[in-house]
Subunit: 234 residues, 2 copies
């Protein structure tokens, strides 16, 4: 392998979106004495993620970034789980919880170890502002921030993977996607990228139904990002 750059899926692979959101929202709700089913809301919110992006991918919606998709699905779901009567500012603070997600404990040490050896970037379906806020708050050492919003194509559209290679001026074989999701890796591999699978078996908590292990011929498989860094000879 002659890998020069590693692109990272972010939600689930680098950060624990479910644990972060539930913990933060439970604390926030407790301060306000709200009676909200927070795990139910967070799981339903995440459940709306792929269908909302698919509406963009299939042309039913014009390009819409993830903050806006999240905002719309939150507005629809919040009352069903008991989150009502909040100010627009508070609802926006809730929506921006995705900007504040906490990395898994191995993520920052793994990325720091990789960075002298490889160009590091997210390749996420999140939007630029979300990823920049998260990186600054959480110390994610990206060299640049690539994501669906830059290419106006959500993964797994090939334009997202190939757009990243084009901007990096690298051949797809010089670029690796690192992700906890087999479907994302399969799409990257189909257009020539190298692949690294990270096992994140608690990403969806008790509702996890897939991605317990590698389901393709991935170039590297590791239990976490520190072990991945070690395997990449970093």
């Amino acid at each position: 392998m002659d890998v020069r750059a590693i692109l990272f899926d972010v939600f689930g692979t680098v950060v624990d979106w479910r644990g972060s959101l539930i913990e933060e929202l439970q604390a926030w709700g407790a301060e306000r004495a709200l009676t909200v089913d927070w795990p139910g809301l967070v799981d339903a919110w995440r459940g709306a993620y792929a269908p909302s992006m698919d509406r963009v991918r299939h042309g039913e919606l014009p390009w819409t970034n993830l903050d806006a998709l999240h905002r719309a699905s939150l507005a629809e779901l919040a009352p069903r789980y008991g989150l009502v009567d909040q100010s627009p500012q508070d609802m926006e603070w809730v929506n921006l919880g995705w900007h504040r997600l906490r990395p898994w404990p191995d993520s920052v040490p793994g990325l720091v170890r990789l960075r002298p050896h490889y160009i590091l970037s997210p390749l996420s379906n999140a939007n630029v502002a979300l990823l920049v806020d998260m990186a600054r708050l959480r110390g994610l050492p990206w060299d640049l921030v690539l994501c669906a919003e830059v290419f106006q194509h959500y993964k797994p559209d090939p334009e997202s993977y190939l757009g990243a290679c084009r901007l990096l001026a690298l051949e797809p074989s010089q670029v690796m996607l690192c992700a906890a999701h087999n479907a994302d890796l399969a799409a990257a591999q189909r257009v020539g990228l190298r692949t690294g699978f990270i096992k994140r078996v608690t990403e969806y908590g008790p509702h996890q139904v897939r991605d317990f292990g590698p389901e393709g011929e991935w170039d590297v498989v590791a239990d976490d990002l520190e072990k991945f860094a070690a395997k990449m000879a970093a």
Copy 2:
């Protein structure tokens, strides 16, 4: 002012392109006993920069990134200054000299001081790979890498400045362009950005004919990036 992000022009503002290229190429040519007019070549190469981008801006050429524009103008100019009979690999190494430009001595200290307080990004006419290589080699602490290639519009097209604001999810008034060139700042100001002027009176060496001082109502004026950081209360 409620500035949240500062965008930097790079060539001339952050890095000393003329001094860097002449120094590196003179050393490289001496090792090979070449007799090339290096200052002449570098000045002519930079002279081709704006006209080549204007061909793209005016639709005479389809989108072409700066590495490719530089490559084409180098191929045309090199023989006139005595750079002949080099391998394609060596000519590419020369072309990639723009990826290795040296910052002015105050640039990295100034950026490091600003970074805790502001989102920092280039907004350069260079391409992504050039800016990423330079940042990694020279320690430029960008949060992300924005440039003409991302928007397929060279500055001073308004799409470049406004595209950066859109991806950052900020109003133009929350974004400042910092540049050593009055024309760049004027274009940014016309679409609502804040402006910071840095005096770089030796950028063009003996051939400098403009930008000895501020020629507009810029929000901040400073002699270098450390002084700029101090004025930005960083």
